[in-house]
């Protein structure tokens, strides 16, 4: 029998890992930004030039629309907005460790959720455009391939998830090793400053100088590249399920050529 106290302990004890809180904070930041931009866009005089946050948002929307158009054309209307939202979340998550809080990407559930979004969208798009023929993909080209197809359908999910998670965890491990190295170096060069809680005080001075370029590479550059790779692959995977684009040209009279 579960008593009320047990239930209270289940929800009140801090069993939620820090990365999930970070993820919630990132979502909150994006939501607040989106609300501010929405209010600005509502009050914007269309005859005047936009400026500030609204200008950045407009440039971003145009960029992502063009990006999607270059990859899969304009066949899915919502793709630009979806890609922009995902890209913002992934990039802010990657650079979130610069604030001193744990990056959400180092917790496996977060990249797995992002991968699942793409995975579900791939199958949803396929089912939407092919109808009942959707099930043909499992017995393609002959029914004996069913077990192979059932295994290979998980490949995009696995590769998308592990790529982001692996990159984030690799950066995290390397930064930790560098920090350890700096700490023992400080113990040798400037030992007279003493130590607090097992860490040399001298490493507080050395750390910001030495780790800054590594943070720039492992957090900023790696995060940017992984964002681009993730949104490109998601767009291409979803675009693959679309039917062939038919070039329809309409003459001045309205006839299809």
């Amino acid at each position: 029998m579960v008593s009320a106290i047990d239930l209270g302990q289940l929800f009140l004890t801090p069993t939620i890992p820090g990365e999930v809180w970070s993820s919630l904070i990132v979502m909150l930041i994006i939501a607040i930004l989106a609300i501010i931009i929405g209010i600005q866009a509502k009050h914007q005089d269309p005859l005047k030039k936009p400026k500030g946050l609204l200008l950045i948002a407009i440039i971003g929307v145009q960029f992502f629309d063009k990006f999607v158009e270059g990859l899969i054309g304009t066949r899915i209307k919502w793709m630009g907005g979806f890609v922009m939202g995902i890209a913002t979340y992934v990039f802010i998550s990657f650079i979130f460790s610069l604030c001193g809080l744990p990056s959400p990407m180092t917790y496996m559930a977060v990249p797995l959720s992002l991968g699942l979004i793409t995975f579900v969208l791939i199958h949803e798009t396929s089912a939407k455009y092919t109808g009942l023929k959707y099930f043909k993909r499992y017995v393609d080209p002959i029914p004996i391939f069913l077990p192979i197809n059932l295994i290979s359908m998980w490949a995009p999910l696995l590769s998308l998830t592990l790529r982001m998670f692996g990159n984030a965890i690799a950066g995290f491990v390397l930064m930790t090793i560098i920090s350890w190295g700096i700490d023992s170096l400080a113990g040798i060069i400037i030992p007279f400053m003493g130590s607090v809680g097992g860490w040399n005080v001298g490493s507080i001075i050395l750390n910001p100088i030495i780790t800054a370029p590594f943070h720039a590479y492992f957090d900023l550059f790696s995060g940017f590249i992984q964002t681009v790779v993730f949104i490109s692959l998601s767009t291409i995977f979803i675009g693959q399920e679309l039917p062939e684009e038919i070039d329809v040209k309409i003459s001045e009279k309205g006839d299809v050529i």
């Binding site: 592990l162 590249i225 490109s232």
Partner: protein
């Protein structure tokens, strides 16, 4: 001890990935020297290709870390 040996064997998987990345860069530079006007397009494709090639190395790294800490 067994963990460390397994991790060392797993991390060997980064070798072909490094070779592949070298090939990507070599071909990109070749392309730039043939057509210097296309440097922007080639550079962005090269970085994307490098990131994709790097993935296999990262799988090895992940398995290596798993062997070390969870094996």
């Amino acid at each position: 001890m067994g963990n460390a040996i397994a991790a060392a064997i797993a991390i060997l998987g980064v070798m072909p990935s490094a070779l592949g990345e070298g090939m990507v860069c070599a071909k990109a530079i070749e392309g730039i020297s043939r057509n210097p006007d296309a440097v922007g397009t080639i550079r962005s494709s090269m970085i994307l290709g490098c990131a994709l090639v790097e993935t296999t190395a990262i799988y090895s790294l992940l398995i290596s870390i798993l062997c070390l800490f969870l094996g």
